[in-house]
Amino acid sequence: MNDVVDDNDDSIIQWVTFRLESEKYGIKVMQVQEVLRMTEIAPVPGAPHYVLGIINLRGNVVTVIDTRRRFGLQDVENDDETRIVIVEANNNVVGILVDSVAEVVDLKVSEIETAPNVGNDESSKYIQGVSSRDDELLILVDVNKLLSDEEWQEVASL
């Protein structure tokens, strides 16, 4: 929630929303570079389990993270809705695989609440907050914290 606390005025932040399983998530639009349709992902031998592989993005090699595995969800078959969201996080450009991309929404800082937590839950520290929208709860993700510092270094070295 640091980012939310830092924004102490009630400014508006734009979020790109995507779906995984039955829930809707949001990441800051400023960190999103582009959204790609599913393409061939080349597996990397010896890569961590949360790395699906690499793609060639206009001559640049981009690592693709399996967001489902990262979030502890079961694997599913990719379909027409599957997207790779290219984001910039912790000085890395990576792709995150999601079930579908929904829309861009505007949220006031005051509309973002801390998610109720159980214990310290280190593994969920990437959850920045939640916001009620259209009778649904939008889970806001801090992409920078999607991986630990060591994991970001590991991804950068692939």
Partner: protein, 249 residues
């Protein structure tokens, strides 16, 4: 046939009674620690550490350097042992909440075949289960998600996974709590929602009907057991404290 059914009924009652009894007991290892003879004074030999470092610089000047470090550490343990003994003696008394000095009402509910009771004084509300519980990634498996109710965002807990002892959790391996639960019991001023399988009736209990837990019992969620109703009485405060720390039974 009739006698068989009767036997089964007695067996089930006995099993539940034994289970409730076991909730108030601690593993044998801990009991042994309490009854062990404690000597007031323990002598610990002084620890002596000697480190020897030799450095030689060759290329320009040949100066041998020798450093010897000697450290002696003595650890007095007498006070610590005596204090520990006193603390262990104090932990065997029953913990009876203030509201239980006179008869009190409780709501009965069931979780994975176990009957629980929550005191009405600690109950915020009871609502029906619905699909509006948002699953949150990366949490303990007993955290089912967030429920929006009135102005609250309530953390919904799979009560069965919280309270069942480790050796009984096996029965939940293939269990999907979303198919099992049908109500949510809200406690701690709408902070936590305890998913439950079945809601029962409201009954009145007298303080002496409850076998109150002692602080020796590690199950913080348990206030005591009520043999007459074959149920475990919840300690909401203890339950909240466990959830804050992310502990299960």
């Amino acid at each position: 046939m009739a006698s068989n059914n009767s036997n089964t009924l007695v067996d089930e009652k006995l099993a539940v009674s034994l289970f409730l009894d076991s909730l108030l007991r601690e593993p044998e290892v801990e009991t042994e620690v309490v009854t062990a003879e404690i000597k007031p004074v323990v002598e610990v030999p002084a620890v002596e550490v000697v480190a020897e470092i030799k450095v030689e610089a060759k290329p320009i000047v040949d100066i041998p350097v020798e450093v010897v470090v000697e450290t002696k550490v003595e650890i007095p343990v007498e006070t610590a042992v005596v204090n520990e003994a006193v603390e262990k003696e104090e932990t065997t008394e029953s913990i009876i909440p203030e509201w239980a000095n006179e008869p009190f009402q409780v709501l009965l509910f069931e979780v994975a075949g176990i009957k629980l009771a929550v005191p009405l004084i600690e109950l915020s509300s009871v609502i029906e289960w619905h699909d509006g519980v948002t699953e949150m990634p990366g949490h303990a498996d007993f955290y089912m998600g967030i429920l929006q109710h009135l102005d609250y965002k309530i953390a919904v807990i799979d009560t069965a996974r919280m309270i069942l002892p480790t050796n009984k959790l096996e029965q939940l391996i293939d269990d999907d709590p979303r198919e099992r639960v049908n109500h949510i019991v809200l406690i701690d001023d709408y902070r936590w929602g305890l998913a439950c399988d079945k809601i029962g009736e409201v009954i009145t209990l007298k303080p002496d009907e409850v076998r109150w837990r002692t602080s020796k019992t590690s199950r913080g969620w348990l206030a005591g057991t009520v043999i007459e109703h074959m149920c475990a009485l919840l300690n909401s405060e203890g339950f909240s404290a466990m959830l804050e720390k992310g502990q299960s039974s």
